[in-house]
Every structure is written in structure tokens, then in C-alpha cells.
């Protein structure tokens, strides 16, 4: 049992997170306050939601980079739709889910039909989705977003009054992140669709031979990525309460990095929801911790890069140990 625990990536990540929180918390006690934790969880909700989709694509055996463009398009489109036709927050989420899923499915169709690497197709559709957004909107900002987004973003659970008179509490956004994690876990672990994603990621030819519908599997994964990106787009506008048409794009590498640090293999077939959660949590804490320790935020990227390198070295070292343990010849005298 213990041996298994030490073979798992999540264990080390978990220890690293504990270590880091002690380090930050002893230097600045503000770190452990409810206000602070609720704050950084909220600001990483969007990345957290998108990370679940990225995990699915990595397990399938590829890397999607277009989901930030989808989130960006959805964010803009839903805000415009609500401005034109009205509606409540549920309608807004429904619209986001439909547009996001549709754009994701388009990715899936192209990838399956033309058998092109996922990263190439999604680089192309990233540019098309994001480019079309600029062509149509001419890059115009929307500062005065409909009230429903503001109201939704301002809902606080367990509201408290801070020392300086403001209120704080737990936003709904981290709960949507949590819901995405649970949904992702359920699909991967408890449904045949989830298992077929692992199967295709592990050995696609075998999956086809055994009768798994690889087309449906791929469509599902990319539809799901689009769906989550759509939800993430609405979550983002509810948090920042304005629409800047190029603010989500550019986050894709951070999301992918978080999922890879969480133990997902870039070669497909491997990855867990818990690891993905820890990966995003690590990034959120790092970003927050650097601010609390008054270290320039530029160090954030440097630190992330360093952690990725360390993670790669650690897993290479583990592989080497395993290879060494695998004795090829039992010498007999």
C-alpha cells in the first residue's frame, strides 16, 4: 500500500503543496485565512474547469490548444446574446454549453476525418475561432455587461465582514470547478465512455479491433472540452465582469502544464482527476504566495518552468529505477 503510494505522482505533488503552504503561511499568516483561500480558488476556477477537458485530451493521446479560443468566443457571444435577447444566468450557461460543444465537436470531426495530429488541428482552429472573433467584433471591449453576470459573480456563500468593512465569502465559481472535477471523475471512472478514452489512449489499433467506436470516443472528448471551455467562459465573465476579447487566450499553456504536473502523460493513456486538481491548486497557491511574499509576479512563470523541469527529472529518475529493478539475467554460479 505504502509502496503504491510512493509510486504515485500525486503523493509527491501533495507533499509539495503542503510544504509550500507551510513555507508561505509562516512567512505571511494571511495565507491561511478564509478570505485568501476563497480568493485564489475563485481566480483559478476558470483554469480549473478547463484543466478537466485538457486531461481528457491528454488521456486520449494528444494536446488541445484551442480551448481558450473557444472560451473566448463563447464569453463574447453569450454576453452579446444576453444583451440582445435577455435571459437569466441558466439560459446564459445553456447557450455557452451549446456553442462551446459545437466548436469542440468541429475540432473532433476534423481530427477524426483527416487523421491529423490533434495539436496541429487545434492550432489551426485556435486561430480560426480567435481570428473570427476579432473579424466580427473588431476587438471591441464590452465594459457594461448585463447585470445577470454581475449578480451571479457576486453571490457569496458564508459571507463575512472584513476588518476594513468590506464583505467576503466563498464564491460559486470554485464550486463550478468542483462540479467539473466530479463530472470528469465520474465519466473517467464510472462510464464505459471514460474507459474507452483510456483504451484509445493506450492502444488505438487494439481499441478499433476490439470494437470500440473510436469516432464516438473522439467526438465525445472534443465535445466535452468545448462544453467545459464554454462554461469556463461564463465563469470568467462573472469573475472579471467585463469582456476583453484577448484575455483568456494565452492561458492554454498554463492549463496544459498544470495537468502534466498533475501526472497526465503527454503520450496518452495516463492521468487522474485528483492529480489535475493538485496541479491547478499548486499553480494557484504559487501565484498567490508570491504576491503575499511580495515577490515580483514575473517569478511566477520562472517557478512554474522550474517545477515542470523538476517533475520531468523526477519521473525520468523513477523510470530509470524501475528499469534497473527489472533484472534481465539471474546469474547462477
Amino acid at each position: 500500500m505504502l509502496k503504491k503510494l510512493f509510486r504515485q505522482n500525486e503523493t509527491y505533488l501533495f507533499l509539495l503543496i503542503i510544504l509550500l503552504s507551510i513555507l508561505i503561511g509562516t512567512r505571511n499568516p494571511l495565507f491561511f485565512t478564509f478570505e485568501n483561500i476563497a480568493g485564489f480558488l475563485k481566480s483559478y476556477s476558470m483554469i480549473g474547469i478547463m484543466s478537466v477537458g485538457t486531461l481528457f485530451v491528454l488521456i486520449l493521446g494528444g494536446t488541445d490548444v484551442s480551448f481558450t479560443a473557444i472560451a473566448q468566443v463563447v464569453e463574447y457571444a453569450v454576453v452579446v446574446l444576453v444583451m440582445k435577447f435577455g435571459g437569466n444566468i441558466f439560459i446564459a450557461f445553456l447557450e455557452a454549453a451549446i456553442i462551446g460543444t459545437a466548436l469542440g465537436l468541429l475540432n473532433g470531426l476534423i481530427i477524426y476525418r483527416f487523421k491529423v495530429p490533434i495539436i496541429i488541428v487545434t492550432i489551426a482552429t485556435f486561430n480560426i475561432y480567435f481570428g473570427m472573433l476579432y473579424v466580427i467584433t473588431k476587438g471591441k471591449l464590452i465594459n457594461n455587461i448585463p447585470q445577470i453576470f454581475k449578480d451571479f459573480g457576486n453571490i457569496l456563500l458564508f459571507p463575512q465582514t472584513s476588518a476594513i468593512g468590506g464583505t467576503y465569502g466563498l464564491s460559486l465559481m470554485p464550486l463550478i470547478w468542483l462540479a467539473a472535477l466530479i463530472l470528469g471523475w465520474f465519466i473517467l471512472k464510472k462510464t464505459m465512455m471514460g474507459r474507452s478514452i483510456f483504451a484509445v489512449g493506450g492502444n488505438e489499433i487494439a481499441a478499433e479491433r476490439i470494437g470500440i467506436n473510436t469516432f464516438a470516443t473522439k467526438l465525445f472528448v472534443f465535445g466535452f472540452v468545448g462544453f467545459l471551455a464554454g462554461i469556463a467562459g461564463v465563469v470568467h465573465v462573472a469573475i472579471v465582469q467585463s469582456v476583453v476579447p484577448n484575455i483568456i487566450v494565452g492561458k492554454e499553456l498554463e492549463v496544459i502544464a498544470a495537468v502534466v504536473i498533475g501526472g497526465a502523460s503527454i503520450f496518452g493513456g495516463r492521468g487522474t482527476i485528483f492529480g489535475t486538481f493538485l496541479g491547478v491548486l499548486l499553480f494557484a497557491m504559487l501565484n498567490n504566495g508570491l504576491t503575499l511574499l511580495r515577490i515580483s509576479s514575473y517569478w511566477y512563470s520562472v517557478t512554474i518552468g522550474a517545477i515542470i523541469i523538476i517533475a520531468i527529472i523526477a519521473s525520468a529518475y523513477q523510470r530509470l529505477q524501475r528499469a534497473k529493478a527489472n533484472i534481465k539475467v539471474q546469474i547462477q554460479d
Partner: protein, 494 residues
């Protein structure tokens, strides 16, 4: 005997090339049926037709006495036909339980997974062949022989009536092969028919009652295995009588080229000493896990030994890496030429030139004509069958690919050539021509180390034989006096 599956007059073309030209085969209920033929004889195409992956252009198919218009992929499974491909088609990242139960779970068409049911299915399947593998291990962590059993268990989850095994023993150790053959007989006793495809004729003779022979897309016929001998089977497969007798060779040279003294490496081999003369073919025979490949890697500098000395032309040399070995005139053809020896997607020309590209260049620039000339010269010398030097290596047959690897090595003008299992997975005629080539090289004065676990390959080609087992040399034998049967008996001791 009742007929289970009968195919008659099967024709199939791919893009105008006839792969099958009138094939007949009848598999009886509960028999083990051998299917043999050289590479390209149409075995794979026939299996794909039986498994329903491709449709024949014409011909009749009867299953259980009833004529069926066509075999479709899902349909044959529902009749109880299962194929285990050479690559096993397992999911390395999933557990043993899930790999075994996947078919069955898929057939239930449920949306949700039932982990208890998965384990139950896996346990039942393992009970059928009386094996016990940890259900929660990842398949990739298992040795290849165990993975083979997992693949068989997966086939046993459904009501199976015909199991097709495509080259199941190609990468197994002797022990695993014996284990597999007894599992096959066990399944047969349960009334399951098995179509067994193998290059290793002795295995076919061991278990099959009837043998169907394919040659050039046509069936030569089906024979009771008792009516055939090894030689007559080979003749039916190749259409030629093959002279498999020992080649009388003369090595008069007394010039020792390579000498290994007390080579040891932890978990690889221990206290290995031998010498090698110019023009000599030294056979190293041993199974997977005997340390034979590890020893070759040590001499060639891939994984240098912990201790020991190496002499070349009587001069002590230190080989720390492959470059050192090449400089000393050692060449090595690895066991897995597909992975280690060739760049599959590149041309025959580039592969042939890869080892000596520096010497072809003028200050960094390599003129096309020189590359072409050098490659063409080796294609001629080794009689490599290729339409043009620019054709990608992956399109060549196994035997021709092996010749490309050899050409690449020989172009460095080595004085020592180490060949690790050079004819694995190669058909009989190509094998014979590679053996001839090896003997010619030795006749030109190259010292050859031939590593193999095939007894005839060793006894027919070598001058001297080292028997390796569990990391040590157990015997040194004179090939001119030893009989294949004696060598077999000696190996069986370990």
C-alpha cells in the same frame, strides 16, 4: 470429425495485386489446425477474412455447415471466433482485469462500468486455463509471456469456438512457449478449435493435427501432420528442396582478432572469457535471459561491463561507448532490427549510408551521386530486392530489411561482426540467403559472432559454439562434431 469453418475458392485483391488466388481451408470442430507459409503467402489476409476485417472478392464460406454470404467483424465474434494478433492488442495502461473483461463489457452495451463484474469476468476467464495473475497490475508491467496469457483470457470471456493465434510464440522464451502450447491443448480438450499460425515448424508439429500450407496466395493443401516431415513441409512451403545440411567450412587462420577476458556485469553476465579468430564464426547459443544479448551490448559499448579486459589484435582496448567500438572495427546488428537497426521511414539509400556518411562528404556536403553510388553498390553486393534505392525501408520484406542492416554495418569495414538473432521472423528462403551471406563474410576474413536460440542455425553455420545460460558460459563445443540433438539435450539441462 465435423466441420466448423470451411472456406473454399477464396480470392482477394488489393489495388490490383492478387493476395489470395483460390484458397481452401477447412477447420474441424475442436482441432488444432496449423497454418504455415512464407511471408507474403497470404496468411495474414486469410486471417483478416476469417475475422471479418476484410471481405473476399469471391469464394464460399460455411460456418457450422451453413453457407454465410459474408463475414462481418462483429458477426464472427458473435459466432465465437476470436483472433489474438501477434502484437496482442492489449491496453498497456489498463489493469489485467480490465483488459480481460473489456470485450465482454463492450458487448453488454452498458453505459456504466461495473468494477465487481469486471473482476468476476476476469477471474472466470483465468480459471478456464487455470492461471492466476494479479488482476490489479497494469498490463505493461507484465513479462511478455504473461501478457500473452492475458490476451488468451480475453478471448475466453465469450463463448468461443475458434481461436486464431497469429504467430503467438515469436517473442516468447522456451518456457513460455511450452506453457502456451499446453494451454492450447487444454483449450482443445474443452472443444475449442484453434488455428495456429507460426514460423516455427517444430511447434506446429507439436500440437497441430492438420496443417494447411499456403504458397503465393494459393493453398498447396491440407495434410495430417503425421504424414509430413520437417523437410517435406519446407519443400511444400517453398516449392524447393532446401539443403539444410551443414556447410563444410575451413578456417585455417590462427590470427586472434578479438579476445574477451573475465567480462562481468552485475545482473547481466559473469566471468566471460573467449577469443575469436579471423574468418571464424563463433556461435553463442542461449535463451532470452541467458545474458547473450547483454554480452553483445557490452562488447559493442552500449552497456560496458563492470570489469574485464578486451583485446583487439592482441592490443588491450577500452570500449566505453559505441563510437569506441566502431573505431576498433566492431559492428553489431541488434536483435530488434526494426527498432534499433533501421530508420523505417527513411530510404534504403539513407539507411545504407547512415554509418559512413562522414566519409562520403566533402567538408560537410554530401553529393547525391556519391550517396547513390555507395548505396547501389551494397544493394548489388547483398542482392537486396528493392525497386529503387530511394524507397522507404519499411516497405521491404523482413529478409531484405535485415540485409540493409547488414549492409550498413559492413560498409564500416568491420573486422568483427556481431549478429544477434539475425533471422528472427524471416522466412525460410530469406533465412538461407542470409546464412550464406554470413558464411561468405567469414570466408573474406571477418570474424563473426552469431547469437541465436535456434539450434540448427548455430550448428549449420558456426565453427565453434559457446553455450550460455544464466549469465555464464556453460560449455564450449566444436560445431563440426556436435549433433543438433546433443546440443538440444544440453540446453534442456538448464
Amino acid at each position: 470429425m465435423q466441420e466448423l469453418l470451411k472456406l473454399s475458392g477464396i480470392y482477394k485483391s488489393f489495388e490490383g495485386v492478387r493476395a489470395l488466388k483460390g484458397v481452401n481451408i477447412t477447420i474441424n470442430k475442436g482441432e488444432i489446425h496449423g497454418l504455415v507459409g512464407e511471408n507474403g503467402s497470404g496468411k495474414s489476409t486469410l486471417i483478416k477474412i476469417i475475422s471479418g476485417f476484410i471481405q473476399p472478392d469471391s469464394g464460399k464460406i460455411f460456418f457450422d455447415g451453413k453457407e454465410v454470404s459474408r463475414l462481418a467483424a462483429g458477426e464472427t465474434t458473435s459466432w465465437g471466433v476470436q483472433v489474438i494478433y501477434q502484437d496482442l492488442s492489449l491496453f498497456p495502461n489498463l489493469t489485467v482485469a480490465e483488459n480481460i473483461a473489456y470485450n465482454e463489457m463492450l458487448e453488454k452495451r452498458t453505459a456504466f462500468t461495473d468494477w465487481k463484474e469486471i473482476e468476476r469476468i476476469a477471474r472466470n476467464a483465468m480459471a478456464k486455463i487455470k492461471i492466476d495473475i494479479d488482476l490489479h497490475r497494469l498490463t505493461e508491467e507484465l513479462p511478455i509471456g504473461t501478457q500473452q496469457l492475458v490476451a488468451i483470457c480475453r478471448a475466453l470471456t465469450s463463448d468461443i469456438r475458434l481461436l486464431i493465434l497469429d504467430e503467438p510464440t515469436a517473442s516468447l522464451t522456451k518456457k513460455d512457449i511450452n506453457n502456451l502450447l499446453s494451454v492450447m491443448k487444454d483449450l482443445q480438450s474443452k472443444g475449442i478449435a484453434i488455428l495456429f499460425v507460426s514460423h516455427k515448424l517444430n511447434e506446429i508439429f507439436d500440437v497441430a493435427e492438420n496443417i494447411t500450407i499456403l504458397r503465393d496466395g494459393m493453398s498447396v493443401g491440407t495434410f495430417p501432420s503425421k504424414s509430413l516431415t520437417n523437410d517435406s513441409l519446407v519443400e511444400l512451403m517453398t516449392g524447393k528442396a532446401l539443403n539444410q545440411t551443414r556447410m563444410a567450412r575451413q578456417t585455417n587462420s590462427s590470427k586472434v582478432i578479438l579476445e574477451v577476458r573475465h567480462f562481468s556485469k552485475k545482473n547481466n553476465f559473469k566471468d566471460i572469457s573467449f577469443s575469436l579468430k579471423a574468418g571464424e564464426i563463433l556461435g553463442i547459443i542461449g535463451l532470452i535471459g541467458s545474458g547473450r544479448t547483454e554480452l553483445a551490448c557490452a562488447i559493442y559499448g552500449i552497456a560496458p561491463p563492470d570489469s574485464g579486459e578486451l583485446f583487439i589484435h592482441g592490443r588491450p582496448v577500452k570500449i566505453r561507448n559505441v563510437r569506441d567500438a566502431v573505431k576498433e572495427g566492431i559492428a553489431y546488428v541488434p536483435e530488434n532490427r526494426l527498432v534499433e537497426g533501421l530508420i523505417q521511414k527513411q530510404s534504403v539509400m539513407d539507411n545504407l549510408n547512415a554509418a559512413i556518411i562522414k566519409s562520403l562528404s566533402h567538408g560537410g556536403y554530401v553529393p547525391y551521386q556519391r550517396r547513390l553510388d555507395h548505396a547501389s553498390q551494397w544493394i548489388d553486393r547483398l542482392n537486396i530486392k528493392v525497386a529503387h534505392p530511394l524507397v522507404a525501408v519499411q516497405t521491404l520484406s523482413g529478409g531484405n530489411q535485415q540485409k540493409v542492416v547488414l549492409g550498413k554495418c559492413l560498409s564500416t569495414k568491420p573486422s568483427v561482426l556481431i549478429l544477434d538473432s539475425p533471422t528472427v521472423g524471416i522466412d525460410i528462403m530469406a533465412k538461407a540467403s542470409i546464412h550464406e551471406m554470413i558464411r561468405n563474410l567469414a570466408a573474406q576474413g571477418i570474424a563473426v559472432i552469431l547469437i541465436s536460440d535456434e539450434i540448427p542455425e548455430i550448428t549449420h553455420n558456426c565453427d565453434r559454439i559457446l553455450l550460455m545460460h544464466a549469465g555464464k558460459i556453460r560449455a564450449e563445443l566444436d560445431a563440426s562434431t556436435i549433433q543438433a540433438s546433443d546440443l538440444e539435450r544440453m540446453m534442456a539441462q538448464y
